[in-house]
Structure formats: structure tokens, C-alpha cells
């Protein structure tokens, strides 16, 4: 019976599922090495709870057992689940502008402005910015920094601090269709690692990363913005609070936007 039936072709095609491997598992050694921060080879999507109205945040947290503890678990009815996608450079309209670029990440929730990242020996760095399309209604954005800006310097350990200046020379800056010449100064500080409560999970060794970006146009007024993000081994950025512009205090209490990782993307 089998011999007779064997003449019929198999209607099931070859499997298309990728072989699943776990690239990294946290070892909780109080530092994040470069191979412990996800940097996808291709497209990847994470789901985040996002508050995009002015939201109270606690950046200082409590001290429990000599370590900080931040409770960011509360959800407001206005919070929404948003997909945040990181994409490869393949097919991007600006791909030829950034030959070293490896990954494209959105800088805003609407994915209208994108950051172009590269993984270097001991850093993940920002090469420049670009609008999602070459001709958006608000005008094209395309910014090349003269030298890459390290957003993460490895290993990430408590107390690390670095400052980088991204120079945008003549002909290398276009923001919303208008030419831009000047500097973006990035000042980053890693705080102590501690416990971070998110709406659906708790991370026991998250590092808080404070960032202040100063935009200095040639001949124009400076604008500053602060953010505090949390990074965790093998997960990457799990939460971020972005201040309003010209926020005077490092421990700001009201954020323009707060995003927190959700488990609905299947991380556990």
C-alpha cells in the first residue's frame, strides 16, 4: 500500500521556519558587554507601552538593600501598545548615503525620523539621521555626522560617562527640508544598576543611562533635551523617558514621552 502511494508527490513544502537560537542569556555580572546588547542582523520588532502625553516619572527611585529600585509598572488608560521596529539598511532610500550603516531605528513613535547605527569594536554609534522617505510633506531630513556618535560605549558599567560632539558640516545637514550646520553634543552617564519594575515584568539588574543632547546650530539658539533610559543584558533598551525641551533638572519629573517594554512581543 505504501509502495503504491509513494508515487504521489509530497504536498507539504520544505519548512520555512528559521532555526531558533538564543543568542544571549543574562549572566547578571553587573556589566553589559557588546555581545550582550542585541543588535539584530535584520528586521526586528518590539512592543512597548507608550505614554505620549506629559507623564510623571521617577528617575531617582528608592534605595532598597543599597541598590536603586524604580517602579515604572503603573499603566494609565491612555497608554498604548506600539510596535517599535528596527530594520536593516536594505532597501532604505538613504542606504547609499551611509555605506557603514547596519541598522535603522526610529527616533520618534511615528517613525518619521530614523537613526542610522553601526556596531563598532566597543561601541554602538550613530552615523546620522534621515527621514523615513526622501520627500515627506514636512521636508527631507538627512544628517551626516563627521564622526560617529557612540550611543553605547562598552562595557556598560555603573559610573561610566562619555561626551561626544557630532559635527554637521556644510552640505551634510538637512532637517525638515532646511539646511543645517552646527553641532549635536551628546553627554551620557551610566548610573547604578538596580531593579526596574515594568508593567509586565521586573528586571533585577537594569542600568540607567542619562542622556543630554544639545543641538547647537551655527549662529542660532541652543536647544537641549534630556532622556533617561534603562538597558538590560540581552534585551537592550527596555524603557525610556524623554523630557520636554529645555528641561533644567537632571532628575526631571515630567516626561514628554515614556516607553516601556511589553512582554506581548514574546520576550520570555
Amino acid at each position: 500500500m505504501i509502495a503504491l502511494a509513494a508515487c504521489i508527490d509530497n504536498r507539504t513544502p520544505e519548512p520555512t521556519a528559521d532555526q531558533v537560537t538564543l543568542p544571549c542569556l543574562p549572566n547578571l555580572d553587573h556589566q553589559i558587554d557588546i555581545d550582550e546588547l542585541p543588535f539584530p542582523d535584520g528586521d526586528a520588532v518590539g512592543e512597548y507601552w507608550v505614554s505620549n502625553t506629559d507623564t510623571a516619572v521617577d528617575l531617582a527611585g528608592e534605595t532598597i538593600d543599597n541598590a536603586p529600585h524604580w517602579d515604572w509598572s503603573g499603566l494609565a488608560t491612555t497608554d498604548a501598545l506600539v510596535d517599535v521596529a528596527a530594520n536593516s539598511m536594505e532597501g532604505a532610500w538613504f542606504a547609499s548615503e551611509f555605506p557603514r550603516g547596519e541598522l535603522v531605528v526610529p527616533l520618534d513613535l511615528e517613525h518619521t525620523v530614523l537613526g542610522i547605527l553601526v556596531r563598532e569594536d566597543s561601541a554602538i554609534s550613530l552615523l546620522g539621521l534621515a527621514s523615513e522617505s526622501p520627500n515627506p510633506t514636512v521636508g527631507k531630513t538627512l544628517v551626516h555626522y563627521d564622526t560617529p556618535i557612540p550611543l553605547y560605549l562598552f562595557p556598560i558599567t555603573a559610573g561610566a560617562h562619555w561626551t561626544s560632539t557630532g559635527v554637521i558640516s556644510v552640505g551634510n545637514g538637512m532637517i525638515d527640508g532646511l539646511p543645517f550646520v552646527g553641532e549635536n553634543i551628546f553627554d551620557l552617564t551610566v548610573g547604578d544598576s538596580g531593579t526596574l519594575d515594568l508593567p509586565e515584568l521586573t528586571l533585577t539588574q537594569a542600568f540607567q543611562l542619562r542622556t543630554q543632547v544639545t543641538v547647537k546650530p551655527d549662529g542660532g539658539p541652543m536647544v537641549t533635551q534630556r532622556s533617561a533610559s534603562f538597558v538590560f543584558e540581552c534585551f537592550g533598551e527596555v524603557a525610556r523617558a524623554t523630557s520636554r525641551q529645555e528641561e533644567p533638572t537632571a532628575d526631571f519629573h515630567v516626561a514628554r514621552e515614556v516607553r516601556r517594554l511589553s512582554l506581548r512581543g514574546g520576550h520570555l
Binding site: 534585551f235 511589553s262 520576550h267
Partner: protein
Amino acid sequence: MKRIALALLLAANVARADGITETLDDRVDVEGSTRLRGGLLYNFDLDRGLTPSGNALFPSDPDDPKSQTRTVRDLRVRVGLTAHTEGRTAELVLGADVIDGLGGTSLADASGRPDNRGRLQLRNAFVTVLTPFGVAVAGRMGNQFGLGMIANSGDCFDCDSSDSADRIGLIVPVRGFYVATSLDVSATTQRVGAQSSELAIDPRNNAHAMTAAILRFRGDEVRAIRRRGGSRTVDYGAAFSYLWQDHDVPAEYLLDDPGMDPASMHRGLRALATVAWARIDDSKFRVEAEAAYVAGSIEQGSTIPGALVREPVGIGQLGAVVQSEIGTPETRYGIGVDAGYASGDPAPGFGAFPTLQNSTVQAGDLDGPQVKFPDDHRIDNFRFSPNYRIDKILFHQIIGTVTDAVYVRPHARAEIVPGLTANTALIASWAVEGSSTPSGARQLGVEIDSGLSYKTHDKVRIDLTYAVLLPGAAFDNTMLDARAAQSVDATVGYAF
């Protein structure tokens, strides 16, 4: 999370203690068996296309993916050694298996789940000592209770693996009953040093089980004598096994290379398994049944150190089987009906063998984890031991074991000539939770397994089986209906 396994009486020990086994003059006894199997598996992917995750229901031939037929073969060598003191007050038992694919795919590996190819498995390494209080046992030993629905030592002719426990126990005969207590170390992980010796540097990482059992049990020979005398034998027992694990080292089972210092995390597993078993063995019929309920919780269900969920995982699993036959081992004919139930979990997939590969399970997939944070915090599907076999294709090979299912199994046998028996069984099955099946329908299908079995007095056994599975609507795809699967396999074995 470690597999929840019962720590129960070793039936072989009980059989040995019933006074029926033959007296040995020598101090060392060697026994063993070889088993050679070969088979053709036809259309085990049911010709229904891929699941939403892009997997086939069953792996195709890696050398010829378009082929409908897979050829499988394997050889198992099982060796056991027993040494005892002159007065037989102490005994050392050693046993090991080797399963080899003979240069191809073994029947044990065809599904792609466990890989037994060429692997040496230490099944037994224990001592028994007769004490004034009873028989004390210590070491690694098979884990068997009742019909083997939940704890199965893998002694059957067709078994591929074994359920072993590292155990210290005491068996006490009391007024015709065996009362047993044991302490198991079910898992010892966290390697230390470059030599990867499996020492538990933190005992809290071990899964432990404490078991108490009471059993009224007569061995095969005793029951045969009683049948010949027209007596009915009623045996029964119950076991309670409490399992706990405080910590866990997920890198040991999630990573190929866990590194020198993998992180440990809180687990908080607590589970209680209650098992009851009974058998009525009459001169005309046999009825045997087993039921088990596993209740428990896992305080920390995450397998990522440092990334913790705040709600515990709940466990509530129920399994039951009944076997019946009008006829006895001494009669030429036998007919009966078996049935079974394994509770289900509404999460997608059967949950038979959750792995990293099927961790991102979607509705319509065959298998996957039954918890999905943050909304689903329960594991309610009961899994039979994979060595408790009711069929050849559906549960044995495609799903992997009986879980989330209910079945009935009428069966019959007839001895054609002395030693040669024809047998047939029909297995009709349904999913308990429709949401677990690839299509959402509950009808799993009907399988017919028929064969011949030849046994000689000098322990040679030859089995030839043909099986056909007519899949139910549970396996239909959106565009393609599932088609019949078939298998033919032959097994030759010799015990010495």
C-alpha cells in the same frame, strides 16, 4: 523548568521481593537484549502543508525533502549486571542502553525530538540492602508505577528512553502491602570547572522529590499461578510525590555553551502528584486502571535570569487510563477496550515537547509552550510518559505523546500457531481543547495498527506491524486537507 517526574517505586524491585524469582547460584548475573528495528514512514506530515510558524507536522527526509517516505532503522543494545553478596542481603545493579541509528535515522529520532543516536545511557546504577526494616535502595534506578502512564522505566520492547531517578529509598513489607518512601534528586545541574563535571555547587538548583507509596502487588508469575487455580487477583496502590526546586540555572538547558559562571535564578517550584492504580486479574479477564492528578505552582515562570514575571504559574493536570481484556496471557484469543484521558491547556499547540524552536508558538502550530506571559500563567496539559504507547503514528510519532486528548482503543488478538499472534487495534481520538490543534477542530483521527508477533521460548521476538492513520479535521489546513499516513515496521529482538 525541569520536567515534573514522579519518584515512585521501582516495580522491578517489588517483583524481585515477591519471592518468585529463581535462585541464582552465581554471585554475578549478566543479562541483556538486542533489538534491531527498521521501518517505512509514509506521509507523516499528512500532506497538509506548513503550520503558521513554517514547520511541517513531521520532518521530511533531510536527504530528499520532497519524498513522501522516510526510511528508518536502529539498533539498541541493553546490558544489565547484577552482583550480590553470598547471603543475598545486598545487591548491586548496573544497566545501560546504547541506541544507534546504523548510519541512518533511527526510529527514535525520526520526529526530530529526542536524539538517542549512538548515545550511551546509564539506566541503572544502584544498590539494594536488606535491612531489619525492609529493603533499602540507593542510586540511579528506573522510575515505574502502575501502568507507566506517568512514571515509566522504559522496559518495553519498543521503548526508546527511560525515566530514571537518582534515589534513596526504603521498601517495607507490611501485612501483604509494600510501603515505600524515597527521596529523589531529579536534576543536578550547574557545571563547574572546565571538565564540565556535573556537581551541584548550589543544592537549591536540584529538583527534589519526596515520595510515599503503598502497594498491594503480585508479580506476573504469582498471578499466573492464581489464574490457573481459578483465583482472582486484585492489586492496587497509591503514591504521593511532592516535588520542589528552589533555584534553576536556565543556561544549562537553553544554551549550547552555558559558560563558566551561568546565572542562577529563583524558581520556586512546588508540585504534588497523586497517583492511584488498580488491577483486577481474573482467570477470564483483566481490567487495569490508573489515574493521576498533578497540582502545583511555579513562583517564577521566566527562564531569563534577571527578567522576572510577577505572577506565579499554576499547574492543574489530570490523566487517566483504563485497559481491559477478555482473555488472559494463557488464552489464544483476547479482546478488549482501552481508553485514556489527558487534560488539555487552551494555549496553541499540544504542549507535548516545548522547546526553544517552538517557543514563539502561534495558533495553528503543532506544539509549543503552554504559558504565554503576561496573559497565560497556567500549564494544565497532562503529558503521558512517551513510553506509554497506544499507537504507532499519531501520538507516538507526530504529537510525541498523549496529551490534551481523549481516546478509545478497542483491540483484539489471536494466536495463530504457538508463538505467533496476530493483533489489531483501532484508536479513535479527540483533542480536549480544540484551540490546541492545528485547525481548531477536535477530531484527531482514527488509527488502525495491525501486526504479527512471534515469540520463542528462548526469548527471540519478531514483530511486524502495519499502521494507517486517517487524520481528523484537527489537522486540516486552510487550503489542504490532511491525508492518510501509513507505516510498516519490523523489529527483531533477542534477550539473553
